[in-house]
Assembly symmetry: C2
């Protein structure tokens, strides 16, 4: 925990003192929200509101300028109109602020005039040794010390990190993940990247002990060689999952007017991602889906999936999706069929997908035995794990549901043990959330996360298999 | 409402009397859940528990056999072990029951012996004029009269119908939709289709006044000619959305052991779907996503999408997805740019996607003006509609959020009016659920539904455009 402050990004993520330039008492303004959150936090840092005319902001003493503050400032957050940013940066430079986050937009992304303003601000920053996050960004966080210069979205501490070249998309991803109870280590909205770039954040997070998996939304990469060098060095011990747009001319044009970024040839990027072991996903929701599975699940040694399903429809849909995503659904051996007969009602499918025909009691036994089979590399369990508790009512049905759910929790430890014993991933999909199933909640405490639908589960396995292939886990 | 009972399916959906054969007092059993739900409902029908030995089930008088019941029985639900089904069906035949739902599994889907049992049961049913739903199915519902022979999942009345050849997948789809507050008219889990088939249900629903859009999960079609004839006749006035598996050999094998269905050549099905105007989707979640948009949204006359976004990242992701799904994101005309300048801050993107750069106040004006542009066929609004109200607290931020959200509600009527005036769809995506945004709640009251992520919105527009193309709306 903490840091020795040898890297400028240490001051960004572990600041001892923070100035909010443009602090405001008006709800809805950035300078309101950021100060409000900082003050309400358990963060051990001095917080200084800076306002050009007010003596107090949100009931706290405000400073007219940084020079009025007696101690040093590690981190300044700038949320003033764009034309006032050069003056604010001049104060930062004079005060030897270590890092400044420029929330303000209206720079390179707006065209020539904005680009000139951005150059001017960068020059001032360099003169005082100030490193810049942004401009045109939406802050950052470090859950380890309860530091948020962005919205909070109910995010809890965890081991995923997110870098986003879009503050809004980053916020969407974080909010959606937080709603699922998924924790994060660090986040940064990198904006126009006038100074610090995604390469810098990637390098920092590659060494960050709280971060086990790095997720990134990428519109453009300035120094491709450096990015892919860092990625290649990192991804053998810490996976990197990327949503990179620019597959289309339209997407590239949108990125240009968004952060002023030229997104480059997609084919080149695609090849570079593959060669450096970066996992590339197609949609925003897939970023966290895949990231979650990389926290604790073993990697599959091949593409052969055993499917255990509560009902045949799920199995058929999943088998179809396996084909679309380049995975195999191998037939069961006679040995496996005979073993599974012990756990299943006579009418089970006797084939892969293993359709339990609605009787889920034998589910954990089936999963365990599929993990044991040498021709299965990963198991997908659809609706057979996570018996729902709908309410705490006292009707016979409600009491029955709680009894079933409690009985299931006893089996979770054994399942987790088998995942590591056989070193194969088990991807659980269930329409039931963790709030409704004690078994899912327990699995997620152990960082084995559940997905909502079979297709998401299949997609995740396909990414794990590709990554394993890159690392040479396959066939080992 | 109701029916003249001229069709056997009228007795399934509007029964005046229902017998539950295999009614049970043991929670978790089908015979418990079904009776429990029927008795708790507001359904105006006589309910008769049938049990081979008990005098009472769930505190109600039970009958040893159908023959003990004095009045006629429109609908029997059979939930006894498979070996007892022939006897139960014999009772139904003797009693001239109109329709029997056989929940019980263990028939054709289990192999030769089960197939023989299924033939025997079918023969008995035919001898008494009893029509069969199932076997190996999970019931049905008709929300118009609060009739549920399946789980309830919190489903409310609405105008989507669902036919599912998998009870589990049907349940998943319904539960997920109900969680989003989406209503349904009728549902049937068709199981092995020993007698009544998906063709019968499709034909019935094509004439059902409560149903505006028919969604179906399909593993196999017995009478392809009839299915596609009905589909072609229906889909000009009532859209049909299908998730059909069997794209892979694995999926086909899973379907065979699931409902004993041979799923046929996928290429043939795909062509037939296209020729008959059926909208085919790829994943279970897409079925309802697309169905919802067909309830009330006008169809686009082409593939040109105007994107209005709260932030550039969303716009870039959506533009990329448009390309993947065969949609265009045309440049804005100078006229449009000048008009939008009135609604937007100076730093807006000045191009399509229209990046509002975080200032969403002009959102409704922008959407209206894009609808007006003759080179735009559909509008995708990402994060610019649906200001979230996080709580009813009294902090300045919470009061501000409520004020913003209340102001927005006033604009919803105008938006709905413009959708119909210009006859172009507006697809809203927002991570904020209807529970948190009064504007989204109001839109959904008018059956304009919101989606969670930009990619889902793009996918929906692409399906609307294909369907419009089929109907000849395009270019009109």
């Amino acid at each position: 925990m903490g840091s020795d402050l040898s890297n400028p990004l240490d001051y960004l993520f572990y600041p001892r003192s923070i100035a909010v330039i443009g602090a405001s008492s008006t709800p809805g303004k950035w300078g309101f929200n950021i100060l409000n959150r900082l003050v309400a936090s358990s963060l051990q840092a001095s917080i200084y509101p800076v306002h050009r005319s007010a003596d107090e902001v949100q009931g706290r003493r405000a400073y007219r300028s940084l020079s009025e503050i007696s101690g040093p400032i590690d981190l300044a957050i700038i949320a003033v109109p764009s034309e006032e940013v050069p003056k604010a940066m001049q104060e930062c430079a004079s005060k030897s602020v270590k890092v400044a986050i420029i929330i303000t937009a209206g720079f390179k992304e707006t065209g020539q005039v904005g680009a000139q303003l951005e150059s001017e601000v960068l020059k001032i920053a360099k003169s005082g040794g100030v490193r810049i996050v942004g401009p045109n960004c939406m802050g950052h966080f470090n859950t380890a010390i309860d530091l948020f210069t962005t919205d909070e979205w109910g995010v809890s501490p965890g081991c995923l990190a997110l870098i986003s070249q879009s503050g809004n998309l980053g916020g969407y991803i974080l909010q959606h993940a937080a709603d699922r109870g998924i924790g994060f280590s660090k986040y940064v909205s990198s904006g126009n990247e006038a100074d610090l770039t995604i390469e810098d954040y990637l390098e920092y997070l590659s060494r960050d002990e709280q971060t086990q998996v790095i997720c990134a939304y990428v519109e453009s990469i300035k120094d491709g060689r450096r990015f892919f060098d860092i990625a290649q060095r990192t991804c053998r011990r810490k996976p990197i999952v990327v949503l990179k747009i620019g597959r289309s001319a339209e997407g590239a044009r949108a990125a240009l007017s968004h952060t002023g970024a030229l997104s480059g040839s997609d084919a080149v990027h695609d090849a570079a991602f593959r060669q450096s072991g970066v996992i590339r996903v197609e949609e925003a929701d897939h970023l966290i889906d895949v990231g979650l599975a990389l926290i604790r699940q073993p990697l599959p040694r091949g593409r052969r999936v055993g499917i255990v399903t509560v009902g045949g429809g799920f199995g058929a849909v999943a088998a179809d999706a396996c084909r679309r995503y380049g995975l195999e659904v191998p037939p069961l051996s006679q040995d496996t069929i005979q073993t599974l007969n012990k756990y299943l009602p006579p009418r089970w499918s006797h084939s892969n997908p293993v359709d339990m025909a609605g009787v889920v009691e034998g589910s954990y036994g089936c999963i365990g035995n599929l993990l044991k089979a040498d021709y299965i590399d990963a198991v997908l369990a659809i609706g057979t794990v996570g018996f729902p508790v709908e309410s705490d009512g006292e009707s016979p049905a409600q009491i029955y549901a709680r009894r079933m759910a409690d009985a299931e929790v006893q089996l979770v430890d054994g399942l987790i043990q088998r995942i590591y014993q056989y070193k194969k991933p088990v991807i659980v999909t269930t329409p039931v959330g963790r709030g409704k199933s004690p078994a899912i909640a327990k699995l997620e405490e152990h960082e084995i996360y559940a997905y909502q639908n079979p297709e998401a589960g299949v997609r995740v396995i396909s990414h794990l298999a590709k990554y394993a292939d890159y690392l040479g886990v396959a066939g080992s």
